[in-house]
């Protein structure tokens, strides 16, 4: 059989038709930015073509491409995590001294006006929430979205981003405290 002797080659046209949307969707739910997702998919195809001869056909092409994309996502997370001078979330608690762990006065939760009518689903609510999430530093936004909006399991996120569960919960805690504050100012008590 000739075909088994043929080196593995991926046909770019077929590959893009078959897998581009799947890979793009995979990337975009994780990085939440279509331009970044597009770049990651492109890099994935390039790496795929470059190493096509190493593809042993033990898994499906799709699984193999996804495994490349997974690496790209983790590299992206490391990059946003290590960016110099990266913005940190605004802390709501004193982090040292006698008051360590206590609320910072001006960050103390205020009661909300008309709470009930303000939690009814509408487009304004969604866009205000998206805006508040966008104010978060990138890595907080990414972990928060994966956990809360995409509803991934803790274990899966930890595995994919190579962080520990306690890292994850610290990030979630800080993201949620800042989001609560942002929504309080811009939505509930506007």
């Amino acid at each position: 059989m000739n075909q088994t002797n043929k080196p593995n080659t991926l046909s770019p046209n077929k590959c893009v038709d078959d897998y581009a949307d799947y890979l793009f969707n995979y990337a975009v739910v994780r990085v939440n930015d279509s331009n970044i997702a597009k770049d990651l998919v492109q890099e994935t195809f390039f790496s795929g073509l470059k190493s096509a001869k190493n593809f042993q056909g033990k898994s499906t092409e799709r699984t193999w491409l996804v495994s490349i994309l997974k690496r790209k996502v983790i590299d992206h997370y490391r990059k946003i995590n290590s960016k110099k001078g990266q913005a940190e979330v605004r802390m709501s608690f004193y982090d040292n001294g006698e008051d360590k762990g206590n609320w910072i006065e001006e960050r103390v939760p205020q009661s909300w006006d008309n709470e009930a009518e303000k939690t009814i689903e509408n487009d304004e609510l969604k866009s205000q929430l998206d805006e508040c999430i966008d104010y978060l530093p990138e890595k907080y936004a990414m972990v928060f979205r994966m956990k809360t909006i995409q509803e991934f399991e803790t274990e899966e996120i930890c595995k994919e981003l190579d962080i520990t569960p306690s890292n994850l919960w610290v990030i979630i805690h800080r993201a949620r405290t800042q989001l609560r504050n942002c929504m309080e100012k811009n939505w509930f008590n506007k």
């Binding site: 770019p12 046209n13 590959c15 893009v16 038709d17 581009a20 949307d21 793009f24 969707n25 975009v28 739910v29 279509s34 997702a37 597009k38 998919v41 492109q42 195809f45 390039f46 073509l49 470059k50 709501s92 608690f93 360590k100 762990g101 206590n102 609320w103 103390v108 939760p109 009661s111 909300w112 709470e115 939690t119 689903e121 609510l125 969604k126 929430l129 998206d130 956990k147 809360t148 909006i149 995409q150 509803e151 803790t154 919960w169 610290v170 979630i172 805690h173 949620r176 405290t177 989001l179 609560r180 929504m183």
Partner: protein, 89 residues
């Protein structure tokens, strides 16, 4: 055994956040509830946190309905680049 039943507001709200995903342990919930008995601020946080979760849930539901695809133009450009790359090696 119960060496640290008293926790700070920072710790209490962290547990409260974790509990929103149903992932706080029994002991953590005990610590949280004892704290909430004595701390009005964290009790308010906890109440509002449930509202926040409800809002996040709305967003999650609407997000799941969107399936994102690459545009035809993007796919075409991608094919061109990959074909060029393939010929060059």
């Amino acid at each position: 055994m119960f060496k640290k039943i008293k926790i700070t507001c920072d710790e209490a709200t962290a547990i409260c956040d974790k509990a929103q995903y149903g992932e706080a342990s029994f002991y953590e919930k005990l610590q949280l509830n004892l704290h909430l008995l004595v701390c009005k601020i964290c009790a308010l946080y906890s109440k509002q946190n449930r509202k926040m979760s409800a809002i996040f849930k709305l967003r999650a539901t609407s997000c799941k309905q969107e399936i994102k695809c690459l545009s035809k133009i993007d796919k075409h450009a991608l094919k061109e680049q990959l074909n060029q790359f393939n010929e060059s090696v």
